[in-house]
Amino acid sequence: MVANRALARVAVAAACLAAVPALPGGVAPAGATTVQVAAAASVEPALRELATDFERASGHRLAVSSGSTGKLAAQVAQGAPFAVLLAADAEHPEALEKQGLAVAGTRVTFARGRLVLWSAQPGLSLGPETLRAGRFAHLAIADPDVAPYGAAAVAALRRLGVYEAVAPKLVRGESVGQTFAFVKSGAAELGFVALSQLGAAAVGSRWPVPEELHPPLLHQAVLLAKGKDDPAARAFLAFLVSEPARAVLRHFGYTVP
């Protein structure tokens, strides 16, 4: 027992020592830069592919943090070390620019998103009637206070005149990412998610919500103040509107301007 404990102590000490030289390895080597990107949860699936392409082409690396646009913007306002923001709306990038937290003149609309009513159960015919009939226990949306897709879902529900009726059944994901998980797991039968999350091979049933039911989901990217002098961050913004990137975005269901 005593010997065991002594051995364990030696092992812990050895592990600590071994970790010390490993620490500087976590920092990017000089030359190649790591760009800290804050991305709306709906953009994340496409960004994974975009990041691979960008990293291969440029030699830089992307470190992506994803969440609801509102939450990311709040983090930027609190000094988060992001160089680029990919938002699922235009309002937050605009507000950040006004507050001097984003570099003026770098805002660019890189895509327009599509809201989808989705169920993980295949073979359903979904549409406005589904919402009016109300034969479901839970309808998942993203938190409309911070997530543009949540705000769009609420707008569409109001336009369809069913918001009051479904309000007691609404469950809110903290971002459209969690909303997607609620529906994917079957915990909620239905949910409003982003078309870009479904991918080509997504199972289940879907109804792409007509875009006239809500304000357009314009997605803007912006260079943040912390990325002002970072050529890699600027390179990524330029890449985002290049033809190869647009092709990827189209593939994920975005309308590309």
Partner: protein, 223 residues
């Protein structure tokens, strides 16, 4: 129901369930020599170690209408478990389990078998022995378990975030409401709720420390 009231209701319900379920479990763990003791103790302690997200993730899958527990529950006539108060109670009971079982078990073990055997030779039945010897001798442990179970549930966040769906009046507990307000940059509301929670938690602990005297000190260490 306001987030604060909902939180108190959740904590009270959870604590009651935990005392009901945890007491026999802790008693058994304190007395048994079964080989199942160590694995069970490890299971009980798991929520101490696991991130709440792991619990929340598996509960979401288990409790979903098509998940094994959710399906069984609805066949028994229960309503949906996910995104409901009942689901939060299930999650909180698991999440706070070690905080109730471990102090109970420790205090039951401290009672030892001597007084119980003496009482048995005097003709006291098992229930009598438990109520008139174990409960008074272990009251510090019971109080500690109650306070820790309650307080830990009030402080719960991750499981509810994964399982609750942020429904006002039903699953939007105060920790979620605070997170919500901070995310929307509504710091005034976040302050109101946070300060309320700080004051409330301090008062509860103050009552325990001051009210019960030396006998009720929270002297609990993770085992």
């Amino acid at each position: 129901m306001s987030p604060l009231l909902l939180t108190l209701r959740l904590a009270a319900t959870t604590t009651a369930c935990l005392l009901l379920l945890g007491t026999p479990l802790a008693w058994w763990l304190a007395r048994t020599r079964s080989p199942a003791k160590a694995p069970l103790e490890a299971l009980v302690a798991l929520p101490l170690v696991l991130p709440p997200t792991v619990l929340g993730f598996y509960l979401l899958l288990l409790l979903a209408p098509r998940g094994p527990v959710g399906r069984l529950w609805s066949e028994l006539g229960g309503g949906p478990l996910v995104f409901s108060f009942a689901g939060l109670v299930v999650g909180s009971v698991l999440y706070s389990l070690p905080f109730v079982v471990q102090p109970l078990q420790a205090s039951f073990e401290a009672v030892g078998s001597g007084p119980l055997e003496a009482a048995a030779t005097l003709g006291a039945g098992p229930l009598d022995r438990f109520m008139s010897i174990v409960v008074p001798l272990a009251r510090r442990g019971v109080l500690t378990a109650t306070v820790l179970g309650f307080a830990h549930t009030v402080g719960e966040f991750g499981v509810v975030l994964m399982l609750g769906g942020n429904i006002p009046g039903r699953t939007r507990v105060v920790s979620i409401a605070i997170y919500d307000r901070v995310e929307s940059l509504d710091y005034a509301a976040a302050h109101r709720l946070s300060l309320l929670l700080v004051a409330f938690s301090f008062l509860v602990l103050l009552l325990v420390y001051a009210g019960g005297g030396a006998g009720s000190r929270l002297r609990w260490r993770p085992r």
